[in-house]
Symmetry: C2
Subunit: 123 residues, 2 copies
């Protein structure tokens, strides 16, 4: 059975029915938030869809791993480093992070960065 997860938030605080707002980094509650929009509880066996907000002036951890990411920027400004190259990011921009590619996402100093992130279910 599929799921409809109704948007019940505002542009400033995006929330969905039945979706918990978790800290992006459990050891740093200021870093931003993480919400799983589609995931294992839906029985989704192929992919997951998450929504992240990085607070102004913060960045994701510098990651490199075997699974890939698909990112769609919903709001704000920031940047992504893919390997050795840094790219500015704004609303609507799309990023594909290839397997084993070093990557870090960062919000601008003044504006949060909000984005959807697709990952394979097995990772």
């Amino acid at each position: 059975m599929g799921t409809v997860r109704r948007f019940v938030g505002t542009e400033a605080a995006r929330r969905w029915e039945g979706v918990a707002v978790e800290p992006y980094a459990p050891n740093d509650p200021r870093a931003g938030t993480r919400q799983v929009l589609i995931g294992p509880t839906d029985g989704a066996g192929n992919f997951a869809l998450r929504y992240f907000v990085l607070a102004p002036g913060t960045a994701s951890s510098l990651d490199v791993h075997a699974h890939d990411h698909g990112v769609f920027v919903l709001h704000g400004r920031g940047r992504v480093r893919l390997g050795d190259v840094e790219h500015a990011l704004g609303a609507g921009d799309v990023v594909y992070v290839a397997p084993h590619e070093t990557h870090v996402f960062a919000a601008s100093d003044t504006e949060a960065l909000g984005f959807l992130c697709v990952v394979p279910a097995r990772r």
Copy 2:
């Protein structure tokens, strides 16, 4: 290598650098459009991310297949039928279509429905 696909459109006509605007239904150019934001040309082996616009008063084909879908509504109003249940849709709403679930998406009569759609790469 990853990819950054820069958004170069407007809210009324969403476009991305290097992404072709294809008809949603090749035999009915009025039905809407389809743009592949992440796909095989990126080397994405796990999933694809597409952006669809259904024109006002039109619907997707009634589909049932083994692969699942993850949908995020970006703009407009419409509805989705999952199995026998119809749900209204607006911006921000999220839909998970389970494998083998009958589904059809439709735009409202007055407003196009624009959404992101995640699918597994192997389907």
